[in-house]
């Protein structure tokens, strides 16, 4: 049995590569068959204000979002070209009034559907309607294991309590549950308790995802960056729990790549096995790709088919394969293993998306950036810049944006 959906974010022994297994025609780097899974960001609207939000700093307004009919057409087209799974994400996907209708449509066209949610807008009836519409899996984000830390990070009062409630309903409805815990300096001390919380919630899966530093998270890096000691402790806790809970709770672990020696194989390689669709219908190589200025992204509203955009558009072809690579990537023995790391991170930290990701020890910028991270982690500047449509709001004493 081969696990073929390499999502490029698990740090443990990389699962063998999906498209390489299914579509053995070209070299690994040149393989870009239709992705097995696609992320649909239905909206950027969200009641939470997490300072590490993966949405771009320039959020799509509600008025620019694809309509119900447009999303349905997209779902049909995705199923037709061979996409197998659809992740409904956001922003907060349940902020869309047509979510049940979209899930039903995904089911009708044969897509495996996954809801990635903050849960705070759900009630039991709505969750039940989603289950009836054929929803296959629910992933709920948690910001901590108790309300004081969790509600402060989320920037929303009573968020944690609501999440616990929805997680219980999820399991009562016999829907499989993934707990997604985004970890950083100000909640890593709760990791053991978060793992226990996932067990108590009867979750099937737990994602322990260290913050990745682009967009909002990069703006908040000084408030979020863990110390090296924290990371070492985290790895120890995750390993122990993964062994102890084998067979009852699957744990996926994402390390913060600032402290890694090799960069992550971001998105499994640019334009190789993943794309996402933004609220306004842009087809993107990853959810942060719009942060790279100078790249034009095609829309599902254009005259092109999604398959054409994936195969032929300039933005996808720009960093495909290995031909675009400068040194030290060009002659590196790992070039078809990590594909030079993350383009968005290279752009954010060096100003050129074509550079080697500074997370790699071979990057000339690695040392400088690692030192900055260490310094920021030690400085205890804990104040958040909350994510919102106004470009962010600084946390105030005692207010916590909640």
């Amino acid at each position: 049995m081969t696990d073929i959906l390499a999502d490029g974010k698990t740090a443990s022994a990389a699962p063998s590569d999906g498209l390489a297994v299914l579509e053995q025609r070209r070299s690994t780097a040149e393989t870009f068959g239709i992705p097995l899974a696609v992320l649909a960001e239905l909206t950027h609207r969200c009641p939470l204000q997490c300072p590490y939000c993966s949405n771009p700093v320039e959020l799509d307004r509600g008025s620019s979002e694809l309509t119900t009919e447009e999303w349905k057409k997209v779902l049909s087209e995705l199923a037709e070209i061979g996409v197998l799974q659809i992740h409904f994400s956001g922003g907060e996907p349940t902020a869309r009034k047509d979510l049940v209708e979209l899930v039903q449509h995904a089911t009708d066209v044969g897509l495996y559907s996954n809801l990635i949610t903050s849960a705070v807008l759900l009630n039991r009836e709505k969750l039940s309607a989603l289950a009836d519409a054929g929803l296959c899996h629910v992933q709920i984000s948690f910001q901590g294991n108790e309300p004081i830390v969790a509600d402060r990070v989320a920037g929303l009062k009573n968020a944690h309590e609501k999440k616990l409630e929805v997680a219980k309903w999820t399991r009562e409805l016999d829907l499989p549950l993934t707990v997604n815990a985004v970890m950083h300096r100000q909640n890593l001390h709760q990791l053991s308790d978060i793992i226990q919380m996932a067990v108590d919630l009867d979750a099937d899966r737990l994602e322990v995802a260290n913050v990745q530093y682009y967009g909002w998270a990069l703006k908040n890096r000084a408030a979020l960056m863990p110390t090296l000691e924290q990371i070492e402790e985290t790895s120890r806790i995750v390993e122990e729990a993964a062994t102890r809970l084998k067979g009852s709770l699957a744990i996926d672990y994402v390390v913060p790549d600032y402290y890694a020696l090799r960069p992550k194989k971001c998105m499994g390689g640019w334009g190789r096995q993943f794309f996402n669709i933004s609220p306004a219908g842009k087809v993107l190589p990853c959810h942060a790709a719009e942060s790279i200025t100078g790249l034009e992204f095609e829309s599902v509203r254009s005259n092109h088919s999604i398959a054409w955009i994936w195969q032929n558009s300039e933005a996808f072809n720009r960093y495909r394969g290995t031909g675009w690579m400068p040194e030290p990537c060009k002659s590196c023995e790992f070039r078809e293993i990590d594909f030079g790391g993350c383009r968005c991170q290279a752009f954010a930290l060096t100003g050129d998306a074509g550079n080697t990701d500074p997370a790699c020890t071979l990057s000339p910028r690695h040392e400088e950036i690692f030192k900055t991270a260490e310094r920021e982690a030690a400085a205890h500047q804990d104040r958040f810049l909350y994510r919102n449509f106004a470009g962010g709001t600084l946390e105030t004493e005692g207010e916590h944006g909640a």
Binding site: D3, V21, L84, Y112, C136, H137, R171, L175, D204, R205
Partner: protein, 103 residues
């Protein structure tokens, strides 16, 4: 509750795919796949044949009888292979036993 998914596969088990794991023929790539959260598995032909028998009603013993008859192969060898394959799937969380709904 979590313990109910940590199953040990034996001849008397009546395994089935849990709700989050779907066995499906992928028309585009002309292969069988198991769809699960953040995973797509590619079972081989034998695994597909066994998984199609996993309906939560048949026991592993029944399945093995059926396969032994079909392939005129020694029952013991098939039993060993089938249990190993199903246990591997169960350990990964892609197989469960028929059980009452929790609500």
């Amino acid at each position: 509750m979590a313990l109910s998914r940590n199953i040990s596969v034996s001849e008397t088990s009546r395994p089935k795919l849990p709700r989050h794991a779907r066995l499906k023929f992928d028309e585009t790539r002309q292969v069988w796949v198991i769809l699960a959260p953040e995973r797509v598995l590619a079972p081989d032909e034998i695994a597909v044949e066994v998984l199609q028998l996993c309906d939560g009603v048949r026991s592993v013993a029944d399945m093995v009888d059926q396969l032994a008859a079909k392939y005129a192969a020694p029952r013991e060898a098939i039993l060993t292979d089938v249990i190993a394959m199903l246990q591997d799937l169960a350990d990964k969380g892609f197989l469960t036993e028929a059980r009452e709904k929790t609500s």
